[in-house]
Amino acid sequence: MSFIRLLVGTRKGAFILTSDGKREHWTVEGPHFGGWELYHLKGSPIDPNRIYASQTSSWFGQVIQRSDDGGRTWNPPGTKPEDLMGPDGMPQGESNMFLYDSSSETGRPLTTHQHYDGSQRPWEFKRVWHLEPSLTDPDTVYAGVEDAAIFKSTDGGKTWKESAGLRSAKGQLWQPGAGGMCLHTILLNTGQPNRMFVAISAAGSFRSDDGGQTWRPTNKGLLSKYELPDPDAEVGHCVHHITMHPSRPNVLFMQKHWDVLRSDNGGESWHEISGNLPSDFGFPIAVHAHEPNTVYVVPIKSDSEHYPPEGKLRVYRSRTGGHEWEPLTNGLPQQHCYVNILRDAMAVDHLDPCGIYFGTTGGQVYGSSDGGDCWEPIVRDLPAVLSVEVQTIP
């Protein structure tokens, strides 16, 4: 029987939640890396025992961790004895070295971006927000970082190289959102191996059609009336998350700062699908594993009130690809609930019926094993949850 493994990143460590395919009883292991912020953990789709984790701290900076045994043991990549010595005889220890590409070979010296006060600042690495393992090679993994950029490792996370072409997509106009100028979403698709999407706060969404060498903004149709002087600017939008169903790589769903949107042409243009949502502000957005037109969001009251409207924690589901949304409340608190659900903290499994999971800033992880009709807390009192990923293991 299949089993499910949830990889939960929190403000004070990582937790691994496992259950059999019934998803009724869960074991909770952790904290791993207690005391550190675990922004994101994600497993390789083709080798589920290979899991990458972003461990970070304001004090000690960035650490990349890797497990090759399904999360039982962890090591920073490249610190096994056989990995330690570089060709010059010096220890490597480069798995946390994210250097922006300023080489003359690429012709892209380190550029500047817009700061909160409108001045220009050079790019400065702060942390890894998101790790996206390759769909075909367990040693290849992408990292979305703050200040916004995408890095790639082809040696299991031992070394990283920036795809500097992204910063050429009007990077001088990008600016930090409230959480920092972060690249938080990376979308890959098996059917179109050279096409990638990324999303950045506050810059927008971007597409590459050559495996990450060059990029262009894909923000036509986004409107940011109160955030930008030019509401339909080519870049500068605060995109919170984008997602797709693997069977329909040209159909994208987006949760923006305000507005839920959809693209039917691979990001060439977007249209709003907020419909009857009680608020179209929010962070995560997810698609059902088997129904490409079934989409989930968690509305949040506003940009300055990061909690559910009316104190009711409601996941909203659209079975029509947007516009028409139904509240899912069974098992979720319907009074006095003032938590937030962050952008990487909702995910679906691949069982049938589809399971859906999300974590809150109040430390609860909720799960539904029936596509969202009924919810139960899997665990209630973790540190604030930053990310939730699911592995469906045969």
Partner: protein
């Protein structure tokens, strides 16, 4: 022989129990101590000082002999008591909430 006491999180990361003891020759400075420390424990690279610039991370402090050495030039000689192993060099996370 220089004795170094690392913060708990870095001891865990480097799989170290207790204090680290390093044998150094020549003039012992903060830079020379950290160079040897990072060579022996590569996973500490980037956690105490920046990879390329070698600047101390903002929330890291260096204490020894009841003095804050954080703002001393990294190439300045360390106190004799640290160099002789009488007093440890404390690498600590700054008081900054958390």
């Amino acid at each position: 022989m220089v004795r170094i006491i690392l913060p708990q999180h870095l001891r865990t990361l480097a799989k170290i129990t207790g204090e680290v003891r390093l044998d150094l020759s020549g003039t012992v400075t903060m830079d020379s101590v950290l160079d040897i420390l990072e060579n022996q424990y590569p996973m500490l690279r980037g956690t105490i000082r920046e990879h390329v610039t070698k600047r101390r991370r903002p929330f890291i402090r260096f204490f020894a002999c009841e003095q804050d050495l954080s703002r001393e030039p990294p190439e300045a000689p360390l106190p004799d008591a640290v160099v002789k192993g009488i007093e440890p060099l404390l690498i600590v996370g700054a008081m900054a909430g958390g």
